[in-house]
């Protein structure tokens, strides 16, 4: 009964009366980062956009640093917004942004969703989004129709469905509270993971205070960042330089990588002082004899006996502080110190450098704005070595911008909460130089990047320095009649050591994707894509192919249908193709497709009574050449995989 009340109580919705924000966020995500997350099922990127929608930046009070948190705005555009504000005195409406010259209209239009002209402290009555009290509830359940081996062999102690529920409360936009519960398939209890927070914003000198679960972001993520960040993507310039949000209320479902305790930022003129403290239990594989931590799993699964043994088996204490000086639009400097203490001593099998139970990190980050340049970087120290990243972003005119980024992460730069810009995703053992260009021409938009990197201490089986290079070119055309064309070509070359050989050779993966996006009418749009890739080493080569058709149809303002049908054919997992799917609000799903088969899904959203929204998705994956799909405990004994998920959103 309690569980039932818990479910019913935790219905959540977030609908802005005028726009369908789920469709909007999906469109913004599509338009921004489409393929940068490989193989991550994560709601954290979605929550960045959702966070920005919920916490729009006031363009009458914002500094350049506040504005560039919005991914569509770069430094030069932000500066132009502030100059315009100084000229007009204040902005009375977002449409005044159209007066800006020499900026990308598309980026301004996209960022308007995250901007406001009203002060967050005053209520302007007529504006619905500044009501005194707002409640949002979301509840979601997902299940696979077939039964994986983990259930039939009784390895999983729990039930099949995956549940998620989240409640958010806002009072005057100054006070926010949230609670979230989540259960993965195979886990027993509906609140296998529970997270809650309470935050106060902008009260006197106190810029922010969070009690409960939160995340901290500093600098360029070399030592402290949220668990997800953008990596190389078809937005070649905008995703390289990170925009830290300092303290963030935690609303994601990663079960280990958050901070839990208390944190706050105070603001005096141009200074911000932040302090944070956290202690909570995390999953760890503990050796029964030495009591050392051998592994730190982050998947958050507690389904099997083995996983349950690791559940919350050690504690992590973190405390630290950030001091930053911010001279708006000219210069900013930040200092970070933080220390992590574990209840058990770390002796990880996966990382030779993380040994001990206490780790301290120091870091300096800087931003300097000069004419059309932004010079930015971070230098960090972990007690053993220094890691650094230096970025230069230049916007020559509204049509052309480029970024240069140089990164040096020594091989002994061990870290725990880093997310520095890198090829390997590790902020350790990498030296790289990245160039990105974005060029808006009258034919369309070109994005190009070239990244060269080296792993000074080798990688994988290779024991001496190895490296590689990546190149991408992405072209998005202007409208041609009803359609737009999008072409993306990417090659990744990497040093490789074949099994049983002592010679370093290289492997390369090249992919070519082309799409036609057709807006048939305001309510109906189609997408036709075909993608082809080749994976080659000295000894063999493989290819992969994917073709898909999307139909998206808005029946009226309240009912929205989306369907996709695709066929894929790849020689093996090496030539796999990632397919970024539309899903329920808050879910990002980017599965890898390999082998030979087809997939289709249908998704519908229905909004009713202006406060409720129901979404349902049903999908099927079929691989005729296989006898079973998946492996290990997730293996299902047939060659098709059906999933259904449903979500209810309530907003008051």
């Amino acid at each position: 009964m309690k569980k039932l009340i818990l479910i019913i109580f935790l219905l959540y919705s977030s609908v802005f009366p005028q726009t369908d924000s789920n469709a909007l966020i999906n469109r913004l995500i599509d338009s921004y980062i489409e393929n940068s997350m490989q193989n991550v099922e994560s709601s954290q990127i979605y929550s960045l956009f959702e966070y920005l929608l919920d916490n729009p930046v006031n363009i009458n009070k914002a500094s350049v640093a506040d504005l560039i948190v919005i991914p569509f705005l770069d430094y030069s555009t932000a500066e132009k917004i502030i100059s315009l504000r100084n000229k007009l005195g204040r902005f009375d409406s977002l449409s005044q942004l159209d007066q800006l010259k020499d900026v990308s209209k598309r980026n301004i239009d996209n960022s308007k969703h995250f901007l406001t002209v009203t002060s967050i402290n005053k209520n302007r009555g007529l504006n619905k989004s500044s009501k005194y009290f707002k409640l949002k509830l979301r509840s979601r359940t997902t299940s696979i129709i077939q039964t994986p081996k983990g259930f039939t062999e009784n390895k999983f102690i729990g039930t099949k469905p995956k549940y998620y529920s989240r409640l958010k409360l806002y009072y005057h936009n100054n006070y926010k509270a949230g609670i979230l519960i989540d259960k993965d398939p195979g886990e027993r209890s509906i609140n296998d993971f529970t997270s809650a927070h309470l935050s106060l914003n902008n009260i006197g000198y106190l810029k922010k205070l969070i009690i409960g679960d939160y995340l901290v972001e500093f600098g360029q993520g070399l030592v402290l960042w949220s668990p997800y960040s953008f990596s190389k993507s078809a937005e070649a310039v905008n995703t390289v330089i990170k925009r830290p949000r300092t303290l963030i209320e935690y609303t994601s479902v990663d079960e280990n990588q958050y901070l839990r305790g208390i944190s706050g930022t105070v603001n005096f003129n141009n200074f911000n002082i932040t302090a944070f403290y956290s202690y909570h239990k995390i999953d760890a594989g503990i050796d029964s004899v030495t009591h050392f931590v051998k592994s730190l799993p982050i998947d958050g699964y507690h389904r099997t006996e083995n996983e349950l043994r690791k559940h919350n088996s050690t504690g992590e204490k973190i405390f630290g502080s950030i001091i930053s000086l911010n001279i708006p639009d000219i210069f900013s400097l930040g200092f970070l110190y933080y220390r992590t203490d574990f209840d058990n001593t770390l002796s990880l099998t996966s990382n030779n450098y993380l040994r001990g139970d206490t780790f301290s990190f120091y870091s300096i980050s800087y931003n300097l704005f000069v004419f059309n340049f932004l010079v930015n970087g971070e230098l960090a120290y972990n007690g053993l070595s220094f890691a650094g990243i230096s970025n230069l972003e230049l916007m020559l005119n509204k049509k052309f911008s480029f970024v240069l980024s140089f990164r040096n992460y020594p091989s002994n730069f061990y870290n725990l909460k880093s997310a520095g810009f890198s090829e390997s995703g590790k902020t350790q053992n990498e030296l790289g130089f990245y160039t990105g260009i974005k060029w808006i021409t009258k034919f369309g938009i070109f994005n190009l990047y070239f990244d060269q990197y080296k792993f000074p201490a080798g990688k994988g089986k290779i024991f001496f320095p190895s490296g590689g290079k990546d190149f991408l070119i992405d072209y998005f055309s202007n409208r041609i009649g009803l359609a737009k064309i999008h072409v993306k070509i990417k090659t990744e070359t990497r040093d490789n050591q074949e099994k049983g050989s002592n010679i370093i050779s290289s492997s390369s993966k090249s992919s070519f994707r082309s799409e036609i996006l057709t807006s048939v009418t305001k309510n109906l749009n189609l997408k036709t894509r075909f993608e082809f890739n080749v994976f080659k080493t000295d000894k063999h080569s493989e290819k992969g192919f994917l073709m898909l058709q999307d139909i998206n149809f808005a029946l009226n303002n309240n009912l929205f249908l989306s369907g996709r049908f695709l066929l894929f054919d790849t020689d093996s997992y090496e030539s796999r193709i990632y397919e970024f799917e539309k899903d329920l609000r808050g879910v990002i799903f980017n599965p890898a497709l390999f082998g030979r088969g087809m997939k289709w899904y249908i998704l519908f959203h229905y909004r009713f009574l202006n406060t409720l929204e129901l979404s349902v998705k049903y999908s099927e994956l079929y691989k005729p050449g296989e006898k079973s799909l998946g492996s290990g405990n997730s293996e299902i004994p047939v060659n098709f995989d059906n999933r259904i998920s449903a979500q209810l959103d309530v907003k008051l």
Binding site: I480, G481, L482, L567, D569
Partner: protein, 280 residues
């Protein structure tokens, strides 16, 4: 198709070869009808508008407002009369939608596949067309048995600009099959573009993927040097083949001839006749 050899029957040897051929070389022998379509190597998915759209891309049926009766015959593909196939289709346009019915037969007395199809197609705003076909098809193998299935084809066409057109279609949307053995009826997804370089010259390209076979890229070109004559040519990379044909058009009558040369299997010829009745 292994299920079909469980039963032992006395077949003359040459016919056994033909049967094997029919059963294993599925795509090449059973092309969708339409002499114009074959002449273009089936690349015209974005521009097709005749009665045989019912099998290729039902969206095209609502492009024209004339009643049309289409007949098609392929007497002996690759020199084997056992592979002969014939088809008849009729389109009736109404102001709100177009409907069509068609019938196809393929094979010989020992192996015969018949299809009867019904289609509905609608145009929206004069630049977007959507159609669906339901085919009831039966396969009869003498002394063995008969299987039947319902095959659904969904197709769409969009006029992106007045010269550039996009088309797509999915065949066997429901993955139906004969009997218990799966995948006996191909699931195919095709998409393509058509471009009217000049009013009397159009270029077509399409990509087709059948679930268990490699991807097939097809190109075709159609040129009308004078109003009455159309010359067509097409190529295909899988199965590797090229094709060509000619069409003669006078008043309400259209006669088409096409040929297709498959790199491994050889030559085949097709004939088509279309009669267009009163403009609506």
């Amino acid at each position: 198709m292994k299920v079909l050899f469980h039963h032992t029957v006395n077949f003359p040897f040459p016919l056994v070869i033909v049967l094997c051929f029919l059963l294993f070389i599925n795509i090449a022998a059973q092309s969708n009808p339409g002499a114009r379509e074959i002449a273009l190597s089936h690349s015209g998915i974005a521009t097709q508008r005749n009665s045989f759209c019912i099998f290729n891309n039902p969206a095209g049926l609502s492009r024209s407002q004339t009643r049309e009766l289409g007949l098609y015959y392929s007497p002996s593909p690759f020199g084997l009369k056992e592979l002969a196939n014939a088809s008849a289709a009729y389109v009736e346009p109404f102001s709100f939608a177009s409907f069509a019915v068609a019938f196809t037969t393929y094979g010989f007395n020992l192996y015969r596949e018949n299809k009867i199809a019904f289609s509905a197609s609608k145009s929206f705003y004069n630049y977007f067309y959507l159609g669906i076909t339901a085919i009831y098809q039966t396969l009869t193998i003498k002394n063995y048995g008969r299987g039947n299935a319902i095959n659904i084809i969904l197709g769409g066409q969009v006029d992106l600009t007045d010269k550039l057109k996009l088309g797509f279609a999915i065949e066997n949307l429901l993955r139906s099959s004969y009997g218990k053995e799966k995948n006996q009826i191909p699931v195919i997804y095709k998409t393509g573009l058509g471009y009217y370089l000049l009013k009397n010259l159009n270029l077509n390209i399409s990509i087709e993927k059948e679930l268990m076979f490699p991807v097939s890229v097809r190109g075709g070109i159609e040129y009308l040097p004078v109003k009455f004559i159309a010359i067509r040519a097409g190529v295909n990379n899988y199965p590797t083949s090229f094709s060509g044909g000619i069409g003669l058009n006078y008043s309400f009558l259209q006669v088409d001839y096409s040929f297709n040369e498959n790199q491994n299997l050889g030559f085949s010829h097709q004939f088509g006749l279309s009669i267009r009745l009163n403009k609506f």
